[in-house]
Each structure stands twice: as C-alpha cells, then as structure tokens.
C-alpha cells in the first residue's frame, strides 16, 4: 500500500469490473439458448410463465431486465395509486422520515446522557453494565415488545430505530467527554470558567469528532434496521416495498431496492462525514 493509486485508473478498473460482472450475469441468465423444453399445448403455455412452459423454473432476471424496470420505477417515483401502491420515491421518503425521527430522539437522549456519564465516573460505573447488556441486543428483538406495549406499528418502528441508534452515540459521547485532555480542563479551571461554560466551550468542541463518529455509526445502523423493521410491520417504507415485491417474487425489484438502499445509506453517511470534517480539529 505504498504509492497512491491513480484515481483515473482506479475508476476505469471499477467500471470494467462492473461491466464484466454484468456481462457474465446477463450471459448466464439469457445466453446459451437453454435446452428446448417439452412442447406444451398453447392453452397450457398461456397459464404458465415462459420458463415454466419450457419445462424449467423462472430464472433470475438479467441485468437488462433490471435496468428496464429501474427506468420504469424512476420515471414515476412519486405516484400514489391507492393505499398500497405508492411510488418508490415516496417509500424512501417514509423510511427517511422514520429514521430521522428515531435518530433525532436518540441523539437528544444519548448526547446529554453521554455527557453526564462521561463527566461522572460514578454514573459511568453505575450505568455501564446496563449499556453493555442492552447494546448487543438485535434491534428486531425489540419489535414484538414494542408492538405489544406501544400498540402502534409506526411508533414501534421509530422506537426500534431509537433503541438501536442510541447506544453508539451514548458510548462515543461518554468516551469523548471522559478523554478530554486534563490540561484543557485545568486551563478552564484556572480561568475560573463555570461547569456549564466548561462543558459548552471546552468539552463539547473537544469531544465533537468522537460524538460525530458515534452518530455516523448510529445512522448506519438505523438505516440497516429500518428496512428490516418495515418488512416486519408493513404499511409504508422501502422495507415494506421489498417485502411486497418479495410477495410477488419479483427479484428485479428487490435488486433495485438493494441498490437504492445502499445509495441512500451512503448519502446519509457522507452527510454526517461532512459535518464531522467541519468539527474536526488538529493539535
């Protein structure tokens, strides 16, 4: 890993790899012609998918099929044709809304609490066991409990986002606050800054990059979780959309959803990355 790679050559290689993969995929699905299946009469053939009529199973869609479907979906991403048929743009907006709500709540709880824990070794020791036990719980394990107690499916999914994104922020905030350089705190004390002023003017800027790292981890987890939560609960959102296309065994739509979920996740991460760069400091 010595010399820095030429970005143009790297990009070219990326594109070539993708093209090779897609070509192989396309060929594997469509190429070769396939063995001619048993001849079936026309009436029967009309009742079956083309692959089944030829004696096989419906195959994986080829990249060209997926591309065509992607264009179709993106040509009208915000349509509303009834409760259960809404465009993919609307579904992503629903998911983003839920993530924003759960994530904001989590930040409102985790950052102040993390400050307290970070500033007080006593609280840290007292709360640490709970945090350690609750942190590794799979967010979906919370779902039945949430549905049972909250009795509202959309608030339940927001709660699940909240509960899974709260831990990384809490732990990182506490860590960032606890590891602020002693000299800086001492300087603040010599300048007779109050507790509040020290927290806002010294600790917060010093811990900000660590807190932002926690937030980046959290938003990634939140975006992972919302898809699964919406698959369980249904109604709206990109996760529900995946479930719905799974229902229809429409693999092309699922591939597209995977692509879009990845892109949106990347975008969310980049946004927080920008904020992180803004608060970063160097000695």
């Amino acid at each position: 890993m010595g010399a820095k790679a030429d970005p143009w050559r790297a990009a070219l290689l990326s594109v070539l790899l993708l093209a090779a993969l897609l070509a192989a995929w396309e060929w594997a699905v469509k190429g070769g012609g396939g063995p001619a299946g048993p001849a079936v009469d026309e009436e029967l053939a009309a009742l079956l998918s083309p692959a089944a009529a030829a004696g096989g199973q419906t195959a994986m869609p080829a990249p060209s099929d997926i591309g065509a479907r992607l264009l179709e979906l993106l040509s009208d991403p915000f349509h509303r044709r009834g409760t259960n048929d809404q465009g993919i743009g609307i579904q992503i907006a629903w998911s983003l809304g839920r993530v924003a709500a759960g994530f904001t709540l989590a930040a409102l709880v985790a950052i102040p609490l993390g400050f307290l824990i970070g500033m007080s070794p006593l609280l840290n020791a007292a709360l640490n066991p709970y945090v350690q036990v609750l942190r590794p719980v799979s967010p979906l394990a919370w779902m039945p409990l949430a549905l049972y107690t909250i009795r509202d499916s959309s608030i339940s999914s927001i709660f699940v986002i909240f509960i899974c994104s709260v831990w990384p922020m809490l732990i990182n905030t506490a860590f960032g606050v606890a590891t602020v350089r002693r000299e800086w705190l001492n300087v603040a004390r010599t300048l007779e800054a109050g507790r509040w002023k020290t927290a806002i003017r010294v600790i917060l800027p010093a811990a900000a990059p660590t807190i932002l790292t926690g937030m980046r981890i959290s938003i990634g987890i939140a975006w992972l979780v919302i898809v699964a939560a919406e698959m369980l609960v249904g109604g709206t959102g990109i996760g529900y959309w995946v479930w719905n296309q799974w229902n229809n065994l429409s693999i092309a739509d699922i591939v597209i959803a995977i692509l879009l979920i990845g892109l949106v996740g990347l975008l969310l991460d980049r946004m927080l990355g920008l904020v992180q760069r803004w608060v970063a400091w160097q000695e």
Binding site: P38, V40, E43, L44, A46, L47, L48, S49, A51, A52, G55, G56, Q57, T58, R81, G82, T83, N84, D85, L147, Y148, R151, D152, S153, M231, L232, V233, G234, G235, Y240, W243, N244, Q245, W246, N247, N248, L249
Partner: protein, 450 residues
C-alpha cells in the same frame, strides 16, 4: 334485491321469501333482538344493574342469566332496547374505517369491495391496508389500528379463548370469506409420492398455527397413520415465502392459500397435489373478523359493514363475475400478482403443474354464512392438538365467535337464502362430523395430543 347474484337456487314459498328448496322458512329471528346485538343489550343491562363484577358473577351463577334478565325486564324495557338495536340501521356512527388484509385470494370480497364500490354503496369510506403477516394483522387489530380485519377463521376463536395472546380478547367472525380454495402443493421432485403414507420426514409449511390449513394437514397425515408432530415437520411460514422456500428446497410442500399454489406452478417450482375441497368440501378458510366491542359501540357501522361484505361475497361467488373480480384485485394496490395467476385461481381453469389443464369451477367459493359446525370442528382440532388445554362449552364458544344470526340477517336483507340452523353435519376426510356430538368424534382419533 335485484341484480345481486347468489349461489342458491330460489324456490317459491308461502312466506314470500326466497330460499333453497329443502330448507324450512327462515324465522325472522334477529328482528326480535336475539342475535349478537340482543345479547349485547342483555349484557349491558346486567352490567348496569350489578356494576360490581364479583356480585354479578355470584348472582349469575346462583340464579342464571335468564332469571336475572326476567327480573330486570320487569323494571326495564329491555325488549324495546333490543328491538331498537335490531332495527334496520340508521346512519353509521363511524364512516372512515381501516381494514387490514393479507394479499391472498381468500380476501377477495374484502378487497374487491373497495375498487368495485361495495363499501361506498353502504355509506362507508373504507381504506383496505395490505399487511405483512397473520401475527401483525392480529396485533394491529387488537391495537385498534384496524377497525376490522381479514383473519383466518380459527384466529378469532383462539383470541377470544386467550390462546396465543396475553389475555382473552373478544373477537368474532362476522362473516366467512371463502370456502375451499386452498391446496397442497408439493415440490416437483415428489411427483411419484402422492400418497400421504409416503410423506414420512417431509417438511411442510402452513400459514399460521391457528389456521384451517394446519388442522386439515394434521388430520390428513394422521388419517394416513403419521403423527404430525413426530413423523413430519410443520412450520408456520408466511404464504409469500412458501414458494421461495419450496424453490430453495427448504420445504417439501405446503398446504397454503392461493395465489401461491398457482404461483408455484406458474414459476415451475411445484405441482398442485390436491385441492382442499377434496378433503372437506365447503370448509371455511378466511373470515371477516371484528372486535366484539364494535357491535355495541358502533352498531350501525357494524351493520352497514356486514351488509357490504355479504353483498361483496355474494358478488364474488358468482362465476360470471370472476374474471372482472380478478382484474380488480390482481394489481399492485391489492394482491400484486400476475393477472393470469389470479384468474386461474378464481375461474378454476388452471395448470396443475403436471402438464394438465384442470377445469374445476368450484376451486374456490365465497359464502358468508358462519356455520357453528365449522367453529365446533375447529375447536375439536384445537383440543386434539392441545392448543386448547382445557375443556370448554364448544357450542357456546361457537355461538359467541361465529355470529350466524347477524350474518343471516344481512344475507336475508340482501335476498339471499339463510339456513334455518347454524349446525350441519359435515363430511371431512371421508368421515361424518356431527357437531351435536363432538365428544364422540374426538374419541375416535387414534393420534392426538390431549
């Protein structure tokens, strides 16, 4: 009601009402308030007169409900109240309703009533919401996110008895949705193993523990001498995942709802081994379920909704309408399936996956009447497999959960013939089941868990 198609043959009768030949004149029972509404008035009156539940129960067990009501009746005009409730409904108390459904053809009447305007015709503004699975639909119905819901017929019984839920929640089957219309689909590699005796070690999927599918599959393999808990594996799998699991060789077959049997054939993954109508012709499958409190809290809404559902059910049952109904529900807003798959299910002209085109117009039927005999059979199976771990008064539970009187009234108002008794002898897997003697039927099983 002219123009409403129906599945019964008319016969002229002196009572001036149409009904099936061979049936006696249906008594105008519900008009006197003996249906579920009348029951609700009685309960409310008892509760009002004796607010202390301990005392009420003590009095009830000492004197019996009849005596107590008679005593109350001497001071309160209960009869009038019951009749007032039973009169043709006024304006619905609540017009905007949410109804949850699972995207399967069993839900046809609940779904098609939306695009085809049956809810609107009865003054209701209904939003039908596709839901991810049976447990979710149950929880959302309990949480009142839904005003009413598409459920498997055994679910309201289980919920009312407190099985599979934290505490008993009184739900009821206001109308049956579909009869028949399910199938056993096997993986293509099992083409030569068509006899249940050869199924030892098979892994089967059913939609839910509390489903007619589970009970029918268990009864079928038990008849063949296999123990459903030991000799085969039965898993609860959401219907949409059944085809994918079959394709992945994760299961050997499933007894599931359509369109997924047909979808397995369509995708070349499996073949239809047997339609469930050959196991029990006329078996119930899915139900239109309401919380019992809806009947008392919003009686007019309940009545209007029930009429809309019964009318939609009768319309769906007419063979002449099946293609139109298929086109209305196949799209992305409802079932989200290829039209040809839904059509094959509803018209009964279908590919069976063995290279043949089968013509069975009665593959699926829609009949709203919630026979108590169905409920009692379901209860025998819940008891047989130890889901229900105590003895209950089967006839009483059936009456509480399968609201035959209310559905009968709605059917009569729409000019459909109504059976004179909610009990009939069923023929299930070649055996006769007399709902008046369920104990004898229970005693006849060699394989059971209770």
């Amino acid at each position: 009601m002219a123009g409403i198609p129906h599945r019964f043959a008319w016969a002229a009768c002196a009572c001036g009402r149409p009904h099936v030949s061979g049936f006696v004149c249906a008594p105008e029972a519900p008009a006197d308030g003996t249906g579920a509404l009348g029951q609700a008035v009685n309960e409310a009156a008892l509760r009002a007169a004796f607010p202390n539940p301990t005392m009420r129960r003590a009095l009830l067990s000492a004197f019996g409900a009849g005596t107590l009501l008679a005593a109350l009746e001497s001071v309160l005009p209960l009869g009038t109240a019951r009749e007032a409730l039973a009169q043709p409904a006024g304006a619905p108390e609540k017009r905007d309703l949410k109804i949850g459904f699972i995207p399967i053809t069993c839900a046809t009447p609940i779904i098609m009533a939306d695009p085809m305007g049956f809810y609107r015709r009865h003054g209701l503004n209904v939003e039908v919401i596709r839901t991810a699975g049976w447990a979710v639909i149950r929880d959302r119905a309990i949480a009142r996110e839904y005003d009413a819901a598409h459920m498997l017929a055994p679910m309201p019984i289980a919920m009312s008895l407190g099985i599979g839920v934290a505490q008993p929640i009184p739900f009821a089957v206001a109308a049956i949705e579909n009869i028949n219309g399910q199938a056993i689909t096997l993986a293509n590699k099992h083409r030569e193993r068509r006899n249940p005796v050869q199924w030892r070690g098979f892994r089967f999927a059913v939609p839910f523990d509390f489903s007619i599918h589970n009970y029918l599959l268990r009864a079928l393999v038990a008849e063949a001498g296999l123990d459903p808990d030991r000799d085969i594996q039965i898993r609860a799998v959401p219907p949409p995942e059944m085809v994918a699991n079959l394709r992945a060789d994760n299961i050997d077959g499933f007894l599931g709802p359509d369109p997924f049997n047909q979808r397995a054939v369509f995708d070349g993954v499996g073949f239809i081994h047997v339609l469930t109508r050959e196991l029990w012709d006329g078996h119930p499958c899915c139900a239109f379920a309401v919380p019992r409190s809806m009947i008392t809290d919003t009686p007019n809404t309940y009545a209007a909704l029930l009429r809309a559902i019964v009318e939609a059910t009768a319309y769906s049952d007419n063979q002449a309408n099946r293609r139109e109904v298929a086109a209305a529900i196949a799209g992305p807003n409802y079932l989200n399936q290829p039209l040809t798959v839904v059509e094959q299910v509803l018209t009964g002209t279908f590919a069976n996956g063995l290279g043949q085109v089968v013509r069975q117009p009665n593959r699926i039927g829609f009949d709203p009447f919630p026979w108590h005999s169905m409920a009692i059979w379901i209860l025998t199976q819940m008891r047989r497999w130890n889901q229900l771990q105590r003895d209950v008064d089967w006839a009483a539970v059936a009456e509480q959960t399968f609201l035959a009187l209310d559905a009968g009234r709605a059917m009569r108002e729409l000019g459909l013939a109504v059976p004179d008794s909610p009990l009939r002898t069923e023929t299930i897997l070649g055996r006769s089941f007399d709902p008046r003697q369920p104990e004898a039927y229970m005693a006849s099983f060699a394989i059971r868990r209770n």
